[in-house]
Symmetry: C2
Subunit: 316 residues, 2 copies
């Protein structure tokens, strides 16, 4: 079978044997994969990754312990938790210290014709949701995590910094929740996507100071946090969504004097994401820049890293 | 009257005229002042301070609009809020952008024979609380602010990093709240104060990793936050109490991946602090290193900056 291989920054497509299905796992045939910024960061050396990347996917279950899964179109939780440690027993499987992560940490990813994932990680794609929309379930879940962590009331205004893929999904999730969104970015054609969904948009220029109670930092840059701190009200909250690597420097005195809350935020539950997809609240078509077959993965990765490119999909 | 003057790092005692009392203000005679680390930081150039420092005090009201204040022993809120801006109207006077701050920002401090403070900032020292204990009301309020911000249940374990004056008060406030406290520090004689109040103490050595749900960072050092992040559980909370100046560098990816909450925390309400003093829950005698008259303020400041010194009091 075809499998994408990422090693020392080089993306190749290899012919390898189909994986064995361990007990409790489903064997899944890839239908569609999405290239995420994390995949591009793996390519740059983050997590010392080598192997098969890919964690945004829609697949078809071909084998499973429970027969009812077979033939189902699925998406899946990417964290493989041990299920027995204190963290898992506390209901925080996504933080299990022994976890592996699909296509990121010690579990081969979805960018291959067949891959495995525990059955308990799977979610059926709701009827009426297209494959190309369902492939966004994982990053939408990451955007929804914000609302699981921060009690942002509908009607409140939220500033979103950064108009990359995640920033765009966050803006739409917050709009769906009933928030007013002011979306700050550097790419007018990307901001237009948020604007069409109802956000106010601000292109470049000076950022307002002490202006927002809620700020989502999704710039992906080292300087994003400093900007977010300057924009936040006393006692306001900054949700940190940019997994910047290496040390980040910030004005701790400003955070303390203004009693700002910084909230680290990563993966989220799939349930609210699938619900939003089901009711058609998230507009995704404009976010798909390109579709390429798995066999052209090296080119797709290059394309995904390009300026003004949003989601690049890999099709089986 | 005698007044402490701090300018370009030099502490002097000057003879100056007694201040005028504006309407709404009380004229207060200093009874006892406490030298805080912030005073020492003002001496080092923080906030470009020049003038009379001092914000921890017990005083006697000698003149006021309302006659009932006269003769009362008082402590006082140090933030002078405008009272009319949106921040003040939202009940966040301690964050008023137009605020001045007693002995810190544009309002002459308490280290002089007479000073002024708005009547609305005053709190009567409860009967049965000694002057030398009441002078700790302001830093105890800052410690109590933690419990106003973070919903730490009684019975939960909290790690406190740093055994300076504020760290010691924080440990005692948390113990009074019913928390278990593990106090990490570098000075055994300071940690003993916490130990006698019921904390477990850890002197120097390696800090445990991912071990606490609640961590209070009160080291006053640049490296404290990094240490706190390493010690915190996934989805745990770090309360930031060290007003370190200049940029602080930290591992933002760890905060995001582990979804840690960082909570900046500054001044607090006086009510819970006075209540704790009233019921005698905070043991303060061991925290008083020295008492000196106002006239010896330069020597007192030097002494307060010394190693192994805790609170230095200035007496009228």
């Amino acid at each position: 079978m075809l499998s994408v291989d990422l090693r020392k920054g080089v993306v190749k497509v290899l012919e390898i044997p189909q994986p064995q299905r361990p007990q409790g796992f489903a064997l899944i045939r890839l239908v569609c994969g999405g290239i995420c910024n994390t995949d591009l960061e793996l390519q740059r050396g983050y997590y010392d990754f080598s192997g098969t990347p890919g964690h945004e996917f829609v697949g078809e279950v071909v084998e499973a312990d429970s027969a009812e899964w077979v033939g189902k179109r699925v998406v899946g939780e990417i964290n493989l938790a041990c299920g027995v440690c204190p963290t898992c027993r506390a209901g925080m499987g996504r933080h299990c210290p022994a976890r592996t992560v699909l296509g990121i940490v010690k579990h081969p990813g979805a960018f291959q014709e067949f891959f495995t994932l525990p059955e308990k990680n799977l979610h059926t794609v709701p009827d009426g949701v297209s494959i190309e929309h369902a492939v966004f379930a994982e990053p939408i879940a990451a955007a929804c995590e914000i609302l699981d962590q921060a009690p942002i009331p509908a009607g409140d205004t939220v500033a979103v910094l950064g108009d990359g893929k995640l920033g765009l999904l966050i803006a739409q999730v917050l709009l769906s929740h009933g928030c007013r969104v002011v979306h700050f970015g550097k790419h007018i054609e990307k901001l237009r996507i948020s604007e069409r969904s109802g956000a106010s948009v601000e292109l470049g220029g000076a950022l307002p100071e002490a202006a927002y109670k809620w700020v989502v930092e999704a710039t992906g840059s080292q300087s994003g946090l400093e900007a977010a701190i300057r924009m936040t009200w006393p006692r306001g909250t900054i949700i940190m969504k940019s997994t910047v690597h290496g040390p980040v420097s910030f004005d701790a005195a400003a955070v303390i004097v203004n009693e700002i809350t910084l909230l680290g935020s990563r993966c989220g539950r799939f349930e609210p994401a699938l619900e939003l997809l089901k009711i058609g609240k998230i507009h995704l078509d404009a976010m798909i820049s390109e579709r390429m077959p798995l066999s052209r993965a090296p080119e797709a990765f290059m394309r995904a890293a390009g300026k003004n490119v949003l989601k690049v999909l890999l099709t089986a």
